[in-house]
Amino acid sequence: MIWALPLLPAIAGLALWAAPPPRPGAAAAVMAGLTALLAALLAGAAGHLAWSEALPLRASLPPLAAVVAVAVPLVALPVLLFAAADRGPALPRLLGLLLVFVGAMELVVIANDLVTLLIGWEIVGACSWALIGHRWREAAPMGSAAYAFVATRAGDLGLFVALFATFAATGSTGYDALSRLEGAPLALAGWGLLVAAAAKAGQVPFAPWLLRAMDGPTPVSALLHSAAMVAAGVYLLARLQPTLAAAPGAAAGAMVLGLATATLGGVAACRQVHAKKVLAASTSAQTGLMIATVGAGFPGVAILHLVVHAAAKAALFVAAGLAHRATGSFDLHGMRLGRALPRAAALAAPAALSLAAVPPLAGGWTKEEMVAAMGQAGPAAAMGGIVAGGIAAAYSARFWLLAFAPGDRAAGHVAPPRGGAIALALLSGATLALSALWLAPVRDAVARGAGVALPAGATAATAASLAAVALGLLAGVAMARRPGPAPRSDWLGLPHLIDHAVVRPVAALARGAARLDDAAIDGQRAGLGAATGLVGGVVGATLRASRAAGRGGERLADLPSRGGARLASLTGRDLGRLQTGLAHHYYTILVAGLAAGIALLFLGG
């Protein structure tokens, strides 16, 4: 039964693509809603599937996983409405693949063994390829789609290694086997999972694929950066946090990696002037904070922030899409659509403030909890979280002001499509609703229900963190005044580094190997020349003979068609080539082989 959770949206998506109903957007949204309902009903369920005798697939939905399982389709629902309203090309394919994407993500969420996880994990990657490359007629998207797929698959190798190490050490692939690991397999499993999660979640050094993914349609970005794909990375680490904690150095590695990405990604976001790329870089930064929180030992807190961030980020992408519709570009210079799109501007504000972690919005609460969690791991980590939080406030404020502050553009220029406005309202409403986490009874109920352990906060750290947010907001306002030119290099030059250090050397190596291979072929041609000189001569003669025979055969065949004559003709043309010429050679070899065999036997006997 639990398998229905990934299958329902996946099959519905394929059906929607194959046979589009009259109102595909509404149908897709309904399916997303049903999936969320199903996820809620299935909380606590478990399943088992004899996929292969040696490798049974297992699924389960513990409380924390159920939270994500419900959140994914709920975020997808408004995104699907927005996609339908956006009226891009090949809408049924887009909606269908988005639903398949949700299904694959659900498979990752319910996985209770590493093979199930790997299956869902890679299908999520393949869906992202198809979705990023949705506008395949243009030059850029397919290249970016391949870049994203290969970059994340490079990280997937970590998951493969974790799976193999676990199986080799325990003979099982279940999550429960992870707790029985020790020594080298444990280290491989922990670090392998970290690498896989880092790639999916867009951490350093894999981060650039997230910017390339911006070549996909905006609804794809909205889902990919909130509840799917990047969320998979964070979810994986949160689900398997005990392994991460037990593996030598892996938890510390997660904190260093997460905080480094949170800081650098934040800086990269502050430098971007492309609306979607600002949001994309901020996604890396935000998932970095979540991964650092898992590293600090508080997976539940990371998941809560994942949900809160998903609502806010999806809303901001929808808002960016509406802005793009109004201006025809994602360039933040001269957007300032406050007057042109007053409602969108107002609805985007809570999302931006939540991303900036301003109280009393949801993001403010979860971010302070994350800082407190990092504080448990040590003051340095808390400091990193505080700095990254300040930068988050800066890019959030800068983004909203550049996009939606009141500017020169007049109202009523282009009315946003209804579906887009509804989607934005829903997501923004979700952010506001999640802000109830500030209320103690709500917070306690959620923590109990989802089994989330909350860290004990330190007043000094919280004060410092809030001060950093205030400073960040001021910095954001200042940066919004002078947005600067587009940066010469996205993501602080990291894509260039990858290009020069990995992509080009591998391509050169491949070309070299191909030349060597060709040279070997040619060399053999020369070398074989001697060996085939004999054969070649014979064959040449045979060919001539057989051609002559063939001509004879043709003439024979022209006679009244009799079976025998036909056979003779074919024999003349085909068999003749071999039988008369190569056959000598062939039998010689046969006899030689026999002799060699006998000699060998005597030698050994």
Partner: protein, 490 residues
């Protein structure tokens, strides 16, 4: 029953060559004849006795004094390979291709179908060898006569190269038979009591691995493959990759692993390294190919590397028994999966050649516009080949690597780079050929016909079926019965 499955296509070939049949009707007749072994094999499968050993056995004395007889029978591995070969033959023969002298072409195809089925179902080493060589003959004519480009040279190279391999195999086979207490070429007897040990066993193993390695092909014996593929017609390439390469891998398991297990265990590591070299070299060289067919051909080297790695692990005698079984299961699934997937990819390449007479990927782009069905099926096949879960290639690679890691962790870890490279090279192939801007010269590129769509769709449906629900195939293969039970060193 199995005897019929071998003889019917051979008789069909003869009839097609001899009877005054209208050339236009050669294809439907040949397709129907090729369907007979498939139906018979399905029947054998329906009555298959999974309790171990060989099913559907039949024996007829031939040369009793030398211990040679017509012996047929199948176990899970050979039945699954015979079945997939039969499927690929039906697909390749039914594939609509414009050929000169259609009757002769289809006669050779049927000949090859009978010979291939014979190779997988025979239980006599001499017959095995005869079928092995006859397959070379059939393929030589098909590539040489109906190929394009430098087809004659490619066919000759293929022939000479693989003939050299089969000579080595012959030596090994003869030594094996002569060292039996009673001279016999009965595979069952030799497998039950492998006669060789010591240095002779090592030399025989060397001969067998080199011989089968050429046909598989294993790095560095693979260089005959690209020219043969490039110049062969699409359906012939599909058979070359889908069926003939499997003969080498099948021989590696059936003869090398099962009949010289002790020496195999001693030398498993170098064999595994050969597999690794094939995986990495095949993928790396494939990355740099601009010719569509050459790129697919080199991925065959890569994929057969997984098979060799799996077989080497299975025969290593190291690590847990379960891991070796899983590796061999993976190797056999890879043979089946690679047959279907690469068969499909070469049919795609054949469809493109039929329409454009060009394989240079740089001359294409945006074909998904005029040919959405072709693009969709090619994308599915490419993702299957790069090992996407839910498709057959993943099942195979997962099992091979899972087993290999428990025995040779470093080799398995290095081999993982292969799946990254294949992802890159297939996605760039799809992008170059099917996506992006459509060159003006390709505006009238025709999509797949209904028949082509049905054939490709059927092959890929099997790929999806195996990927989504592999349990039926895995229990049929039952690799447990193939893994030699002896410990390391004998």
């Amino acid at each position: 029953m199995l005897t019929l499955a071998v003889i019917v296509p051979l008789l069909g070939a003869l009839a097609l060559a001899a009877l005054p049949l209208d050339a236009a009707r050669a294809r439907p007749v040949a397709t129907a004849v090729a369907g007979v072994p498939l139906a018979l094999l399905l029947l054998v499968w329906a009555t298959y006795d999974a309790s171990g050993g060989f099913s559907a056995q039949a024996e007829m004395p031939w040369i009793p004094s030398l211990g040679i007889a017509w012996r047929v029978g199948v176990d899970g591995m050979s039945l699954s390979l015979a079945l997939v070969s039969a499927v690929i033959f039906v697909a390749a023969i039914a594939w609509p291709i414009r050929v000169s002298d259609a009757r002769a072409y289809h006669a050779w195809m049927l000949f090859l179908a009978g010979v291939s089925t014979g190779l997988f179902v025979t239980l006599d080493l001499v017959l095995f060898y005869v079928f092995f060589d006859l397959s070379l003959v059939g393929m030589y004519f098909l590539v040489g006569r109906w190929g394009h480009g430098d087809a004659q040279a490619a066919a000759l190279k293929f022939f000479v190269y693989t003939l050299a391999g089969s000579l080595l195999i012959l030596v090994g086979i003869i030594v094996l038979a002569l060292s039996m207490p009673d001279l016999t070429f009965d595979m069952r007897a030799i497998i039950a009591a492998p006669p060789l040990s010591g240095p002779v066993a090592g030399l025989v193993l060397l001969a067998l691995v080199a011989g089968f390695g050429i046909k598989t092909p294993v790095f560095p014996l693979h260089t005959w493959l690209p020219p043969a593929h490039v110049n062969a017609p699409g359906p012939v390439s599909a058979i070359l990759a889908g069926v003939l390469l499997k003969m080498g891998a099948y021989g590696l398991v059936r003869v090398a692993l099962q009949m010289v297990p002790e020496a195999f265990a001693r030398h498993a590591l170098p064999i595994a390294l050969l597999g690794l070299a094939s995986i990495l070299w095949g993928a790396l060289v494939a990355c740099a190919q601009d010719n569509l067919k050459r790129r697919i051909a080199y991925t065959s080297v890569n994929h057969m590397g997984y098979v060799v790695l799996g077989v080497a692990v299975a025969g290593s005698g190291l690590g847990p028994e379960a891991a070796r079984q899983i590796a061999l299961t993976g190797a056999v699934v890879e043979m089946v999966a690679h047959g279907l997937i690469t068969g499909a990819l070469f049919l795609v390449a054949g469809a493109i050649w039929q329409r454009a007479s060009d394989h240079d990927m740089g001359h294409f782009g945006g074909l998904a516009g005029p040919a959405p069905r072709l693009a969709g099926l090619a994308t599915l096949a490419a993702f299957a080949s790069l090992g996407l879960p839910g498709l057959a290639g993943f099942v195979a690679e997962l099992h091979v690597f899972l087993g290999a890691f428990a025995v040779y962790p470093w080799i398995a870890a290095a081999g993982l780079l292969g799946i990254l490279l294949t992802a890159a090279l297939f996605l760039s192939m799809l992008r170059q050929v099917f996506f992006g801007e459509l060159p003006a010269t390709r505006a009238d590129f025709a999509d797949l016909t209904r028949r082509e769509t049905a054939i490709l769709g059927a092959l890929l449906a099997l790929v999806v079926l195996i990927g989504v629900w592999p349990a039926w195939l895995l229990s049929l293969i039952d690799a447990g019965s193939l893994v030699p039970t002896l410990g390391p060193g004998g």
